[in-house]
Symmetry: C2
Subunit: 203 residues, 2 copies
Amino acid sequence: MSGKERFIIPHRGTINKEDRQRLKGHRSAILWFTGLSGSGKSTLAHAVEERLFERGIHTYVLDGDNIRTGLNKDLGFSKEDREENIRRIGEVAKLFVDAGIIVLSAFISPYRKDREFVRNLVEDGEFIEIYVKCPLEVCEARDVKGLYKKAREGLIKNFTGIDDPYEEPLNPEIIVETDKEPLEESVGKIINYLVDRGYINSF
Amino acid sequence: MSGKERFIIPHRGTINKEDRQRLKGHRSAILWFTGLSGSGKSTLAHAVEERLFERGIHTYVLDGDNIRTGLNKDLGFSKEDREENIRRIGEVAKLFVDAGIIVLSAFISPYRKDREFVRNLVEDGEFIEIYVKCPLEVCEARDVKGLYKKAREGLIKNFTGIDDPYEEPLNPEIIVETDKEPLEESVGKIINYLVDRGYINSF
């Protein structure tokens, strides 16, 4: 066999998602946190990651910090750009699932249609929608980033909950209520879900 | 404050890149394969992944199969779209490095400027450029996908090597010559590079 011929057969990767999951010792999936600005998505996602990490689970968090400053820095906040924002995040999350990782995504993702798009990108059971539920008044009172104030003053347009809709999940896999339960309780719900359904092993 | 700036207030996760590398037992990096269509980039990337997997290394391959059909399916092959194609792949590869993975990227990536852009996205030593060198005549004779024929007939425009330039790497970390060396020799060069420089442990 000559050097030339070695490369002429189109080559499918021999290492696949199942191999990568086996190496990691757990299944992979998207934990898709959705909710209003200030509802606690990112805090919760990072807290869940920490607990998973302690168990030796391979994780990654996608949030505004690493997406809006990188892959999606060309996008704004119009309806079209928000849709493209979620589309790209969904496609990246799918790659992480294929890589065997439990990927945690923390974006408002206000539109049902966009979340369903991501759900349909991956296989059954690979998309776990977590509704981070918190009343607008509470989120606005927290106003961690001062964005609600700016939105009320008209300095920010198309702000979810103020002048742009948030479409609640109809059948989320998990609901956490960050104005009613302590952080550790919400984290526990999610970890239990993953254990109960065999994504990760119990201790 | 513009719409694009409003969400980038840093929220640091407690689990960082170093933690994830520690869990995985090796450093993370981008193995960036560049070369003409038909030079053997994807075959080589998957062969390297297989060898790394056998050693328990956590890897992922980005190539046309999972990128052009997903994240970048909105992009064509104009100069602008190719630049955006590589920009997005670079940003995704950076996320994988942050996740502690050795990510192998197999795209023609013909323009020096675009490859330098990706190199500058990550830290020193995290971008390993691998020039998959093979003469145009050999790639064209292989014509695995029948694309050179179509390009010669004018059915495909802006085809690298035919009517669009390929800019050779000036200082790639590794050069493999797929018309001269057997696949396993090229794979070995890359594995040795990773061992010698402490990315992964020797057995």
